[in-house]
């Protein structure tokens, strides 16, 4: 029925039944998508819903396993990005691929198939960029330019190839509101000239403001299509996260809430890099016996918050307290000795060293926590091996041979190991970032149950997650992080997906600014 309301327009791209599988995971499951000429088309969905996979197939960096793509009515196979550009499909990435040491014109010349003379290209860049309200100085060196201008370079680079479809992956995530306003003007201008835009964003107000049509993905499938103008951020959010509330297993046995074990008070930190998020006076008290979950879209400060709590990013002493002891500037080892434990989002390269055996990876986080893994400077291999065997059995870590290198384990098995390594210590405070990201259902259930059990035994558990199903399944209280602001943690029973969705889309920020 949605198709009918748009039937008068020319179809530019028509994807039919696109399917892409990674191992056991169906990233895209028979996705149908129609993009018309001159349309700003929003692609919405939670993290892991399959948005990136889908656009990568349009841009030629992934090959579909099934289905077909029709470009202006012709069936095409897009083998690589160069082929996509030849068809007239351009893409602006979330993280830019620019050489910092080179000038604007040099960077653009590198991406063009036949750039021609540098001086001519420079004049073309100037005229196109001014024409579209994105003025650029071709001789500026990229390293000196702020993020907003760098994005302009990417967009102008796209425009020079006179594309008919521009794919933008979360373009405003790195922009200030004023820069974003300028970008919207450009997009509207492009649309009025007949160029289509496929716009990926989590910011629902933005989508409402500039998009003509929206396709919503969930778990790799198209769940609905709509005209954003006829919706509210709340209805869009509920389409994104799905209305079906999972059964809450943690709520059945109400926790005996005890004293505060982890306390954050006015935790603030500046952004360390242009792509990092600043933390803005985050406060949260975590009681013994409860699981508190922090929901939020990726890149809103979760990693920074984790690093501040773990001690990898030191903050002011009073901002973090573990069992009443101030430790904001203490080391991660000191915090571990206070019976705190941490599981980062990235298993390989942060939580575990890829090239080390599992037994050695146990030494990684437990060398200073009274496990007798070290004695007068020497590492006890026997003790590490014994712990490795124990954790392997306890958490059902499956491996092809004894004590392999961490890199050879599958994601789910490594996650069980990394979580098990910390749970085995019976920590008083556990902070987990994305506990079941990319993990199969069986392993995810095991990990979630273990987290609940730990809390019920008197520990405080903080779960940072983008998976709302997971959050509603295990959390006693839920807070939402958005642009480095944290909403107040509210009892899970009083929360619903719509409310979480609204907080994700900037409500948490508003709440934080008021506070």
């Amino acid at each position: 029925m949605v198709q009918q309301t748009r039937s008068g327009m020319d179809v530019l791209l028509d994807a039919r039944g696109l399917t892409k599988r990674f191992g056991d995971i169906l990233a895209n499951d028979k996705v149908d998508l129609v993009i018309n000429k001159g349309e700003i088309h929003a692609l919405l969905g939670e993290n892991g819903a399959g948005k990136s996979t889908l656009v990568k197939m349009f841009y030629g960096s992934l090959e579909p396993d099934g289905g077909e793509i029709l470009w202006q009515g012709q069936k095409v196979s897009i083998g690589n990005p160069a082929a996509a550009r030849e068809l007239g499909i351009g893409m602006v990435f979330q993280h830019f691929s620019l050489f910092e040491a080179l000038t604007v014109v040099e960077n653009i010349a590198l991406a063009l198939p036949n750039p021609g003379k540098m001086t001519e290209l420079a004049t073309r860049i100037e005229s196109v960029s001014v024409d579209y309200g994105l003025p650029l100085n071709p001789t500026d060196i990229v390293a000196d330019l702020p993020v907003g201008i760098r994005q302009r370079i990417e967009i102008v680079r796209c425009l020079l190839q006179e594309p008919q479809l521009i794919i933008m992956d979360e373009p405003t995530s790195v922009l200030t509101p004023q820069e974003a306003d300028l970008l919207f003007l450009t997009l509207q201008r492009l649309a009025s000239e007949g160029c289509a835009v496929l716009y990926i964003s989590h910011r629902l107000e933005e989508v409402q403001r500039i998009c003509h049509h929206a396709t919503i993905l969930r778990h790799g499938k198209v769940v609905s299509e709509c005209n954003p103008a006829n919706e509210t951020p709340a209805t869009l959010a509920s389409m994104m996260v799905g209305a079906d509330v999972a059964s809450v297993s943690a709520g059945a046995q109400k926790p005996q809430v005890g004293e505060i074990r982890l306390e954050l008070s006015n935790l603030s930190a500046k952004a360390a890099t242009p792509f990092a998020t600043a933390l803005n006076s985050i406060s949260l008290g975590l009681h013994a016996g409860e699981v508190v979950a922090i929901a939020g879209v990726a890149g809103n400060g979760q990693g920074e918050l984790f690093d501040a709590i773990s001690g990898e990013m030191p903050v002011s002493q009073e901002m973090v307290r573990i069992d009443g002891k101030s430790c904001g500037s203490r080391s991660i080892t000191w915090r571990r000795r206070q019976k705190a434990a941490f599981v980062p989002e990235e298993r390989l390269g942060h939580g575990a060293v890829p090239g080390l055996k599992l037994s050695q990876n146990i030494v990684l986080t437990r060398h200073a926590t009274g496990d007798k893994l070290t004695g007068s400077g020497f590492v006890s291999t026997a003790r590490a091996n014994a712990l490795e065997k124990h954790i392997k059995q306890e958490f059902d870590v499956r491996m092809s041979h004894d004590d392999p290198e961490a890199r050879s384990l599958s994601g789910g098995n490594l996650q069980k190991f990394v979580v098990g390594r910390e749970l085995d210590r019976q920590p008083g405070v556990l902070v987990v970032n994305q506990p079941t990201w990319g993990v199969d259902a069986g392993a995810a259930a095991l990990i979630r149950q273990a987290l609940i059990d730990l809390a019920r035994s008197g520990s405080a558990v903080l779960v940072i997650s983008q998976d709302l199903d997971e959050i509603f399944e295990i959390a006693d209280r839920i807070a939402v992080i958005s642009r480095g602001y944290l909403s107040a943690a509210e009892p899970a029973a009083d929360m619903n997906r719509e409310r979480v969705g609204l907080l994700m889309a900037g409500g948490a920020e508003a709440q934080g600014e008021v506070a």
Partner: protein, 362 residues
């Protein structure tokens, strides 16, 4: 069509052990080709280069004497490289160590006691460590690239040496030759086994063995390996990258400085403008050929020392250019790194898809 390097799932430990041997084999092959192309009998060249030095006692001892500083410097560099600190300036640290160690016998020639030599060795190690700490501190505070700073400091050090032996430290009775006074007996490394080898060889072997145990068995060794492979995981483990940078540079510089002092107080007995035939640079090859493992480095140091002696051999016996030793050393490093790459990655041929525009079928 293009070539792509694809990461292997797990490293083969057998190939990791074999790779230096394969690299040496490939180097010998390449050397034979070079001999043949330059109009010499390749088999005779290979024999003179790689085998003949091993057949006579004096050349065998000379090889071991040359291997000693290479092994000592290589061990220190291995700690740097394992922990992702790219110290290329061991040559400068070697020279500054030699200067610090020589200060005592040159400035106080009459101070002759049992403490003279031990003090010199301590000063030498200290000097090398201080010199190495300059790039480490610059890296930690100003984020400079330690490859460049440590390398540039080599030239500063060698000009310093040049200035001292031609100027203030020149031997007053030396007929204006650019060399320092001879060291007294108390400032000389004692010989062992009655030959050209000094006490520095057993000292080096003991240090290498200690380092092997430290790297394999202790928490410090664990920290070094973790930091090298995955700094993010290292900081998650509670290790400090900055402290380790200081530690590894100081250790490598200290060992290079010790090697420098032992070299001048062992064989040369005085400071000369040319105290090192590039030991600090060759030790980089030694460290990698020895798989950054002190035991492996002992063997690799011997192989590289052989290339110095063998290079002299083919030069005098066959009239081949004296640059041949450097070329063969360079080839060896190239093949070692290439073999290592293939242990971690495999090569895959990728064929391009036809551009989509023309072909409208799937």
């Amino acid at each position: 069509m293009r070539l792509e390097l694809v990461k292997r799932k797990e490293r083969s430990h057998k190939m990791a052990m074999l790779s230096p041997i394969i690299a040496i084999g490939l180097t010998a092959l390449a050397a034979a080709i070079i001999f043949a192309v330059s109009g010499h009998n390749p088999l005779e060249g290979l024999y003179k280069f790689f085998v003949e030095p091993l057949t006579q006692q004096w050349s065998l001892q000379a090889t071991i004497a040359k291997a000693t500083p290479l092994v000592l410097i290589g061990c220190g560099l291995a700690v740097c490289y394992l922990s992702n600190n790219w110290n290329i300036g061991a040559e400068g640290q070697f020279i500054v160590g030699a200067l610090f160690g020589s200060a005592l016998p040159i400035l106080l020639p009459d101070f002759e006691s049992g403490a003279t030599l031990p003090l010199m060795l301590v000063f030498g190690a200290l000097g090398g460590a201080l010199w190495a700490l300059i790039p480490a501190v610059l890296k930690n505070w100003f984020n400079t690239n330690e490859i460049l700073t440590s390398l540039m400091l080599v030239y500063v050090a060698s000009l310093m040496l040049d200035y001292l032996v031609r100027g203030p430290w020149r031997d007053p009775d030396g007929y204006n030759f650019p060399e320092s006074r001879m060291f007294s007996d108390a400032a000389t490394m004692p010989d062992v086994f009655g030959g050209t080898m000094s006490l520095s060889t057993p000292i080096t072997i003991v240090i290498a063995l200690i380092l092997a145990v430290v790297l394999a068995k202790t928490l410090k060794g664990f920290e070094i390996r973790v930091m090298g492979e995955s700094p993010r995981a290292g900081s998650f483990a509670g290790f400090s990258a900055k402290r380790l940078t200081l530690f590894s540079f100081a250790l490598a510089g200290g060992l290079a400085g010790l090697a420098g002092t032992m070299e001048v107080s062992g064989g040369l007995n005085q400071l000369l403008p040319t105290i090192s035939p590039g030991y600090g640079f060759t030790a980089i090859i030694v460290a990698f050929l020895g798989r950054l493992n002190p035991i492996g480095i002992i063997i690799a140091g011997f192989v590289l020392a052989l290339s110095y002696i063998g290079g002299e051999g083919v030069q005098s016996a066959m009239g081949v250019s004296n640059k041949i030793a450097s070329v063969i050393q360079g080839l060896l490093l190239f093949f070692v790194l290439a073999c290592d790459t293939l242990i971690l990655y495999r090569i895959r041929l990728v064929s391009h898809h036809a551009p989509a525009g023309e072909t409208s079928h799937v």
